[in-house]
Symmetry: C2
Subunit: 414 residues, 2 copies
Amino acid sequence: MTEMQKLGARAKQASYELAAANAGLKNAALCAIGLQLTQRADEIIAANSRDIAAARENGMSEAMIDRLTLTRARMEGIVSAVNSVALLEDPIGEVLGGITRPNGLRIVKTRVPMGVIGIIFEARPNVTVDAAALCLKSGNACILRGGKEAIHSNTALASIMRDAIAQAGLPADCILLVEDTSRESANEMMRLSGYLDVLIPRGGAGLIKAVVENSTVPVIETGTGNCHVYVDYNADPTMAADIIVNAKAQRPSVCNAAETLLVHKDIAPEFLPLAAKALAEKNVKLLGCERTRSILTGVAAATEEDYATEFLDYVLAIRVVEDVDEAIAHIARYSTRHSECIVTQDYKNSQKFMQRVDAAAVYINASTRFTDGGEFGLGAEIGISTQKLHARGPMGLREMTTYKYLIYGEGQIR
Amino acid sequence: MTEMQKLGARAKQASYELAAANAGLKNAALCAIGLQLTQRADEIIAANSRDIAAARENGMSEAMIDRLTLTRARMEGIVSAVNSVALLEDPIGEVLGGITRPNGLRIVKTRVPMGVIGIIFEARPNVTVDAAALCLKSGNACILRGGKEAIHSNTALASIMRDAIAQAGLPADCILLVEDTSRESANEMMRLSGYLDVLIPRGGAGLIKAVVENSTVPVIETGTGNCHVYVDYNADPTMAADIIVNAKAQRPSVCNAAETLLVHKDIAPEFLPLAAKALAEKNVKLLGCERTRSILTGVAAATEEDYATEFLDYVLAIRVVEDVDEAIAHIARYSTRHSECIVTQDYKNSQKFMQRVDAAAVYINASTRFTDGGEFGLGAEIGISTQKLHARGPMGLREMTTYKYLIYGEGQIR
């Protein structure tokens, strides 16, 4: 048995205890985590400062160092998130349906935990606590593998959380951290079939691609968003401008931000100058097709590659289209099936867009930025799925569960 | 673009039309398939006889040739199954939930097709029609890759089905057959991300393992069943014997057949001779632990490997255990998490077994043979999932779908 398999076996064993734990026990463990993280914040911040010192030595960018940094205020935010998770409804044990068959068999479909969830993430130590809390609440043991840049912070956080849940009466092994942050450990995790029931990568496109391509464990693909806003011929121009500015520039670094603006040819001469002005105020750089550039001056040419790119930046590609069908075809070609929006006052086009566009979230007259667990009322999210298997869009506690059929008989045979 | 990618692009294009088709149109297409298969049965049987001739030449076993053979009676069975699928309720468009958010956004979670489903299967031509019909009804285009042994049969079947649905008004490319039956074509299909939304292997353990290990497309793992029956200390011995005989011997070649019998030590001296006698009448060969062999004479020793084996044959491994906890631990170690059964009259043990055993279907006092789409009332099944992601246990039409969020706004931004 490799070290990773040993971790897997420990997590699996703990997962059986956790799956049988009631909501009261799980909530007590979450509260204990919040309390211990508060009481031992100094210890965590000291560990974090070792990560920061190493990061500076290795020339990490200030933006990345900021993401890595834990302060007392940020620790309070993390604890507050754990407490919010404790307040969410327990998804486990919900009866999803059932039937009594003609032969008298009573079949009850019941929500149960996945078992062991693996999470591979990068250098954000808040993910360590957030992911552990969501796994715990949904009855799943977790194996966490964060980036090497945060290893001291993560080791402190995991150790404190393990102490807390053990004190509350759950096996410490419900939360396990992979201390080996080499590339090999990530690859080993992707092959941990039999121990891991699902693997969720949280991070950039490169990480997600590597996991999808190499994992033999079932994966939930999260987070890549090449999202579009299509402005139809009779859209309210002010509403459309507000939506594209919000979708692009309110927080460009996130997956539900828009990357391409599609504009119906009839509204383009009126709308594009209005939109360009509002976007310029947010310092958004524009790239456009020929028709766009004949209306707007000083716009660079957009390439095929631009339309396929998730900029995650103050950059927006623009294309003028013939009609809603060309918009739908463009989206079918370039979309990552995350969030797509039509701005229109035309009923038929709104319905066509909703039906024909294949994405987790399809909006009429609203910003794509709403694709988020909190905004959808799920309470918290472990990520936003861009695949169709199992879960689509924001994944809350329910999306971290599966079901089993419980069948009550009196000796039935076939 | 490779030939396989071209197939993928055609299927994707057709899938948009099919996703927007209403139940009436899909049912008309299914009825057209049934009619054409009936009218052109001679053509199919002629193609099938070429496959059979080649199989005989290659020395295929009679059992395999029987699976490959299409007769007029079997064609009637296939057509009857297609007609049954037409009668099932259309799963598409079902509203699964929704919410109006405080900001007025109306979010409606709606059931939609997956898009394109890939199915890799072996030498059973009935699967070609069965899988195509279930995909069509659930609004999914399909790419079918059967075994080379059935290529003439499959080509005829697919061509007739494509004609039929085109006549009914759906794109012929809703049903596509991979005519290249080389190993490379299967490998290419496993890498067809961007075109295939899900891949379902239907066949033996070797095929399923290859797909799980090599696919970058999300996979639903089906069919491996190392199932157990545990006879508790106070079980009704006659009921327990009936259940193990049924679970083992009614149809040993299927995934929901039992492979290991676990017996509580207190009931073993009374129960094992009774069970052995009933199993002997079905010509079941027994392999046992030391305690089993001290009770039953002429039983060979069971090895660790035997307990891990899905025999799919008239062979049963037996182990005497201390109590329900040891039974649960044995199952946790060897089970493929398909179907597990306890025979007991003890309430506490029945509840513990249901809660602690991690499997798609957990039975009290009934044969594991009931894990089946028809027996569960799902109407039809595309397979039995042994993974936890997306679908677990028998997969009917609903399990071949996903959902999307439709969001109605009036200009909301964040």
